[in-house]
Amino acid sequence: MGPGQHPAMDLSIHEASIMSSQPGRMSAPISGLSEGFVARVRDVASRCRVAYQFRNCTRVGPCPEVLGRLWVHGGGRVVFGQRVTLDASCAPIEIHAFAGAEIELGDDAVIEGGTSIEAMRSIRIGAGCRVRMHCKIIDGHFHAMDGRRGDLVPAGQVVLEAGVVLGPNSIVVAGHVGEATVVAARVVVTRRVRPNAVIRGFPATTESRRVT
């Protein structure tokens, strides 16, 4: 299965087949309307919903897939590549680019629910990345360590190169993760991580380097 062929893609056809195989269930079509018509209405409705959810994005590539609630906030630039999957069916996804900041999501990237991406300067997520549930990706600390906590501190940058997998509940604060690195669950990344590595633990250690 290629990265663009997520099993839940092409939702309308999928749902239509479920409806025809299980008549009399909750999703049964209203009598008098053909199944094809109902499927088409659903398709249009879901497209409208996705268009509304993408209203604050600067640019979105073709064939995006959104399940559930997607929040795009702030006055910055938000750019999605082709065939991105935003699966917020369990918890909402929050994408927040402050004014002047930039968030880029590469082709075929998958973001799971509960993930929050907040940029004050720049966050780039490469092609084919997978960000699993309840991750937090931010490019700065947002508050001063001591003294006046309300003060904004200068932000760094986040780069996840192509094919990175972020485990559930992991946090990236101004880090640079190399190509195809796997980050385990509950890891906190704050600096540069080499490509093709597997990192786990907090403070994080490189467990192994995959042979490519």
């Binding site: 209203r55 604050n56 609630r69 929040w71 906030h73 702030g74 006055g75 918890a91 909402p92 929050e94 927040h96 402050f98 004014a99 509960g114 929050s116 309840h134 937090k136 931010i138 490019d139 700065g140 600390h141 508050h143 360590m145 001591d146 906590r149 501190v153 200068p154 932000a155 760094g156 940058q157 986040v158 509940n169 992991s170 946090i171 604060v173 101004a174 880090g175 509950r186 890891v187 906190v188 704050t190 633990g201 907090f202 403070p203």
Partner: protein
């Protein structure tokens, strides 16, 4: 799909919206603040609370024990509701000017004290009773508990300390230090002053 002219109109409307509400960091409008205070007064109706407690999002409050909340405590909304639970016989005090981001979980069975001007990041959690251990938790003034940090029972976090994002704190944290890791280790803040800023 909308036609080209509709698109242009839509883009212009969006630009206007951005100009007016330029940034998510802009302070809350008076109306939002008033609504937050009103919501808080309903949510915390069974709880002893000070003036101008503000809840811009949903907070689940279970007050079987005694909860005291100081002046101008803020609860921010987000994707996960905040949970403030005090069991029978528990005593939970939150001092004035503390702020809680979304998804914070405070679970009190004996005693939890949160000092003045504390900041709780999203999804952080404090509890004073676990499966294997229990004990009162004291978080002194000006503590910053960052995103996803967990404070375990019997811990005292000193004034002005920072609990780093994702940390799990099992031992006491001295004042003015940074607790980091799982299990968390504390580092003095003066060591960090010479450290490079984020992302370099």
């Amino acid at each position: 799909m909308p036609t080209a002219s509709a698109r242009v109109l839509f883009a212009e409307a969006r630009e206007l919206y951005r100009l007016v509400f330029a940034d998510g960091r802009a302070p809350f409008t008076k109306l939002q603040r008033a609504m937050g205070v009103a919501r808080a007064s309903i949510l915390f109706r069974q709880v002893e609370h000070g003036v101008r407690v503000n809840a811009t999002g949903y907070v689940r409050v279970v007050a079987r024990g005694r909860i005291r909340i100081g002046d101008q405590v803020q609860f921010f909304g987000g994707m996960v509701p905040t949970r403030v639970v005090c069991q029978v016989g528990g005593e939970l005090t939150i001092d004035s000017l503390s702020g809680f981001n979304y998804g914070v979980s405070i679970d009190c069975a004996q005693r939890i004290h949160i000092g003045k001007r504390c900041m709780f990041g999203s999804m952080s959690s404090v509890r004073d009773r676990a499966e294997d251990r229990s004990g009162p938790v004291v978080i002194e003034d000006d503590v910053w508990v960052a995103h996803g940090a967990i404070i375990e029972p019997g811990v005292r976090v000193g004034a002005g300390s920072v609990v780093a994002a994702g940390s799990v704190v099992f031992a006491d944290v001295p004042p003015h230090s940074l607790a980091l890791g799982n299990p968390a280790k504390s580092v003095g803040m003066d060591l960090l002053r010479s450290a490079a800023p984020a992302g370099s």
